[in-house]
């Protein structure tokens, strides 16, 4: 029994300090890996900024993903960038295309992005698209989320007001409301408020 416990303790110690068997690389410059460099070159021909793909590659490297998986992720990211750029043309602000690409990854359609752009040609959609991403990931139906955000844009609500939709949603979900109930409550509340004047850029976060 004594030897059994001793052996088990040694085994446990070895397991505890053994480094995990992970992917091909964990640090380093993605551009230095030939397969990933090839993806960067491909994306450059499509007009996708290198930094956009390098961000994906760095995430993959941090997570210890294999080179093949990182390469596939970079290819997917480049394709989504191109699709988002087409859907959101003419692009109004930095961050719009990235936000659009994230939404495409969340299975929001290109047509949904196009319709939003068509309705709001001159306003930056980076924040509304980000809020859409939050709502959809919380289980709000795309159509419903899109309708509410669209309505807020039509009322010329500020980015701050639109961003608070995502924050308030998180708060209601944390209290145990189902996504549909939480969003219904929020939508009614938000859309019943009078339109706000443009808010200055100094904001106070609402802490719960």
């Amino acid at each position: 029994m004594k030897h059994t416990i001793l052996r088990a303790a040694v085994l446990a110690l070895v397991i505890a300090v053994l480094p995990p068997a992970t992917g091909a690389q964990s640090t380093g410059d993605p551009a230095a890996v030939p397969q990933l460099k090839a993806e960067l070159d491909r994306a450059a021909k499509l007009g996708v900024p290198a930094e956009f793909l390098l961000s994906t590659a760095r995430r993959g490297m941090m997570f210890g993903a294999s080179t093949n998986k990182i390469r596939d992720a970079m290819r997917g990211a480049a394709d989504r960038y191109v699709t988002a750029r087409e859907a959101l043309s003419p692009v109004q602000a930095e961050g719009e295309i990235g936000a659009g690409a994230d939404l495409l990854q969340a299975n929001v359609t290109k047509n949904a992005l196009k319709s939003l752009r068509a309705a709001h040609m001159t306003r930056s959609l980076a924040v509304p698209l980000g809020v859409l991403q939050v709502l959809v990931s919380k289980g709000v139906p795309v159509k419903q989320a899109l309708a509410t955000v669209n309505e807020m844009l039509k009322r010329k609500d500020s980015d701050t007001r639109i961003a608070s939709l995502g924050t308030d949603m998180q708060g209601l979900l944390a209290q145990g409301l189902a996504p549909s109930a939480a969003f219904d409550a929020l939508s009614r509340g938000v859309l019943s408020l009078p339109q706000s004047p443009a808010v200055g850029s100094v904001l106070a976060p609402q802490r719960k």
Partner: protein, 310 residues
């Protein structure tokens, strides 16, 4: 040090290892070595090894585990135990429920207890159920535990127990812990049923890291756009933390350390309006998602939080 109704004293030392690579399914590996002496002459030592497999969500989790132990007195006695537990957190509070069963051939540990050995029995088994509430406030960690034991084999009777503890965070790596109450006999460590009052010092290698996994959520993070266009990020980590870091799309996924301003951890960085992905790390531990942000998984299966900055 503790005493029981037969004037025993013992010294307990424990160590716990938390392998860092499994974010949602970490493993607890622990060992305890105890020396004890009883005024009536019985002396001995015990060794126990614990293993628990956890499965953790943002604010809840569960585990299954087991332990083996050996007690050396005049004769050697062996024990083993299996347990399963679940926990849920709400803000600074955590509720934990545990059920376990312990098997032992140590008759002596059950003598002088409420769950007594049957005549001629050589093997014993008990079932325990425990409910524990923990609460953190400022520099203090409070805990109250209650439970019951039922005899399953070789024993008769049942008992209830309960104890409270207060830990005072003296420094980043040191806690002073005061406890008191009653506890059932532990065949794994050879400790008798006892009423106790104890004081101890808990020292951790990583400051501010709980010895028990508390789930993947990091402290909440807030963002505020300043007049100059940059964004002030504030993380609600304890001010006694040794370090707080953030990384995300606005840092090119490079780790950036926050500074302690008063009681807040703060950093000001440029960030374009729109959605940003990020993770937070406290005291050099695992990268986690702040508790107030929406969680998403990326194409690599990694979790990150989304914040939309106007």
């Amino acid at each position: 040090m503790s005493g029981d109704s037969v004037a025993a004293a013992q010294l307990l030392m424990g160590v716990e290892l938390l392998p860092p690579w499994a974010e949602h399914a970490p493993i607890d590996i622990g060992g305890v070595w105890a020396l004890y002496g009883i005024a009536e002459g019985d002396r001995g030592q015990s060794r126990a090894l614990y293993l628990r497999q956890h499965l953790m969500g943002d604010r809840h989790g569960l585990w299954v585990g087991g332990a083996i132990g050996q007690i050396d007195r005049a004769t050697a006695f062996a024990s083993n135990a299996f347990d399963a537990g679940a926990w849920i957190t709400r803000g600074p509070a955590r509720l934990t429920a545990v059920v376990s069963t312990t098997t032992s051939n140590d008759r002596g540990v059950f003598v002088h207890t409420s769950v007594r050995p049957k005549q001629f029995a050589e093997h014993f088994r008990v079932a325990d159920a425990t409910l524990s509430l923990e609460y953190e406030t400022g520099r203090f960690e409070l805990q109250g535990t209650t439970g019951g034991r039922m005899a399953l084999h070789g024993l008769r009777g049942s008992s209830v127990f309960g104890f409270v503890s207060v830990a005072w965070r003296m420094a980043q790596t040191t806690r002073l812990v005061f406890s008191g109450g009653s506890q059932v006999a532990d065949p794994l460590r050879g400790t008798p049923e006892w009423k106790f009052v104890s004081a101890g010092i808990r020292i951790s290698r990583s400051p501010g890291v709980s010895a028990i996994p508390r789930g993947p959520a990091a402290p909440p993070l807030y963002a505020q756009r300043l007049i100059d266009g940059r964004v002030r990020f504030v993380i609600d980590a304890p001010y006694s933390s040794a370090s707080v870091e953030v990384m995300g799309t606005f840092t090119d996924w490079k780790s950036v350390e926050l500074d302690l301003e008063g009681t807040q951890w703060v950093v000001t960085l440029p960030a374009v309006p729109g959605p940003h992905r990020l993770r937070v790390r406290v005291n050099g531990g695992e990268w986690r998602v702040p508790s107030n942000l929406t969680v998403q998984r990326d194409e690599f299966g990694a979790r990150y939080g989304i914040i939309v900055i106007p």
